[in-house]
């Protein structure tokens, strides 16, 4: 009659699969928000550059809010605000929306820096060679300015990848949430957290190293 129910069970190979799936969700969230956010951010950056006073008074303060409020607060706020205006978003899409705007706010500054990194004389020269405004943008500003701020952009993208872990507060099971669930069950925090940390590290470290190397090479 010695029946006991065990709440805890050891770490098995199936849990590695569970973690792997969660890691893929982390990746998918980050890729989605980084790519859309970068596209938006470049447009915002261009507006900040071209809009002058108007943009400085309207767009810049709005973007600034997203950089001055903790991401976790933004996520909770948006997740609870969406139903008020009649949007029913699941945690995943709420997370992607906020991460996208957050990325856009960060990339906007980077993009503006890139446009401004191309000297005015160079742009005048391009225009006086008969290039149109967009030709100048495409063939002069993009290669030169893009190169100047590419390492900064990589930094932003990696930052967003790491910050995507915060979507777990909405209940979305990405890598860190999954490891938390496993820790509760297996009671092996050190092993599981190390696995999760190793995944982030393995993703972030080579890319940041590569970006630093590129920066050094381009600086010469």
């Amino acid at each position: 009659m010695d029946q006991t129910i065990s709440f805890f069970s050891g770490f098995t190979i199936k849990d590695v699969w569970f973690l792997g799936e969660a890691a893929l969700r982390t990746l998918w969230t980050s890729v989605l928000s980084i790519s859309i956010g970068t596209a938006l951010g470049v447009i915002f950056g261009w507006l900040l550059h071209e809009g002058r006073i108007l943009a400085a008074l309207t767009l810049a303060p709005v973007l600034d809010i997203f950089r001055s409020v903790p991401l976790i607060i933004q996520l909770v706020l948006f997740y609870n605000f969406a139903p008020i205006v009649g949007l029913n978003l699941d945690p995943f899409w709420s997370g992607v929306v906020i991460l996208t705007i957050y990325t856009a706010a960060l990339v906007a500054n980077v993009a503006r820096g890139g446009i401004e990194a191309v000297g005015r004389p160079m742009r005048r020269a391009a225009r006086s060679l008969g290039m149109s405004y967009w030709q100048d943008m495409r063939h002069v500003v993009l290669p030169i300015g893009g190169r100047a701020v590419f390492p900064a952009w990589v930094g932003v993208a990696l930052g967003v990848m790491k910050d995507s872990a915060l979507v777990s507060v909405l209940g979305y099971v990405e890598l860190l949430k999954a490891s938390q669930i496993l820790i509760t069950r297996t009671q092996e925090p050190f092993l599981i957290l190390s696995l999760a940390g190793a995944f982030y590290f393995a993703l972030s470290f080579p890319i940041s190293r590569y970006a630093a190397k590129l920066e050094k090479r381009w600086a010469q």
Binding site: I65, S68, V69, P70, L71, I72, I73, Q74, V76, L77, N80, F81, P83, I84, V85, G86, L158, K162, D163, A165, L166, S168, V169, L176, S179, Q180, I183, E188, P189, F190, L191, L193, S194, A196, G197, Y200, F201, S204, F205, S208
Partner: protein, 220 residues
């Protein structure tokens, strides 16, 4: 579209508590910055010497801090080291994680700052009869400080924003306190909206203070 009634009264009633929690946020951020600057300086100096076990330890610290999510670091100090029987209070967890993170990021900034000061200045100062200590405190450090002043300000802002993660380990700083009240009244949106404003004000105050200080410090 708006069939939601905003109730701001409970938030206003708890506003003093929230502001007090804001002070706690500021406290933990400042404390972690002080520790972070101290350790970061050591890490930078160790990494510039490039020898021995210490170099690898310092490099591991810096790369781990920069290439894993802050949330992961928080969980690590929260549950991870629990595996070795070390259990910290929520305040200690947040402080340790923030200091670890700040030290890693600042170390890289400091290293860049030291490298920006030409080595010849050291020799010039020494040949003028200054001791090594005098050279550091009167020639090198003031120049390095000027270079790393802005990164330190940025890191201070990050420390404030990152301390919001404290709510996930039960630390009752601004976010934790907000979550506590919000879950009691179910006025989640209202509470977090006010908290977002408080964070925004804190960040703006830090930036303004830093700018004023810079005007006073870097007059020449």
């Amino acid at each position: 579209m708006f069939d939601y009634n905003f109730h701001w009264r409970p938030v206003m009633k708890n506003l003093p508590d929230l502001l007090e929690a804001g002070l706690l946020t500021l406290q933990v951020a400042v404390l972690s910055m002080v520790i972070g600057i101290g350790i970061g300086l050591c890490l930078a100096l160790i990494r510039m010497n490039r020898n021995g076990v210490l170099y690898w330890l310092a490099t591991a610290w810096v790369e781990l801090a920069r290439n894993t999510p802050a949330l992961f670091q928080l969980f690590f100090f929260g549950f991870g080291i629990g595996a070795f029987g070390v259990h910290l209070t929520p305040f200690a967890i947040v402080l340790a994680a923030l200091s670890f993170n700040c030290a890693g990021y600042l170390a890289e900034n400091f290293r860049g700052g030291f490298q920006a000061v030409p080595e010849t200045q050291m020799r010039a100062a020494r040949s003028l009869g200054m001791t090594q200590w005098q050279t550091y405190t009167r020639i090198i450090i003031p120049q390095v400080f000027r270079i790393v002043y802005h990164p330190i300000t940025n890191q201070m802002v990050w420390a404030v924003l990152m301390s919001s993660l404290g709510m996930l380990v039960g630390f009752r700083e601004l976010s934790g306190e907000t979550q506590f009240f919000a879950s009691r009244t179910f006025r989640i949106f209202e509470y977090f909206a006010v908290t977002a404003v408080i964070y925004y004000v804190i960040v703006k105050c830090i930036l303004a203070a830093s700018r004023l200080l810079a005007m006073r410090l870097f007059r020449y």
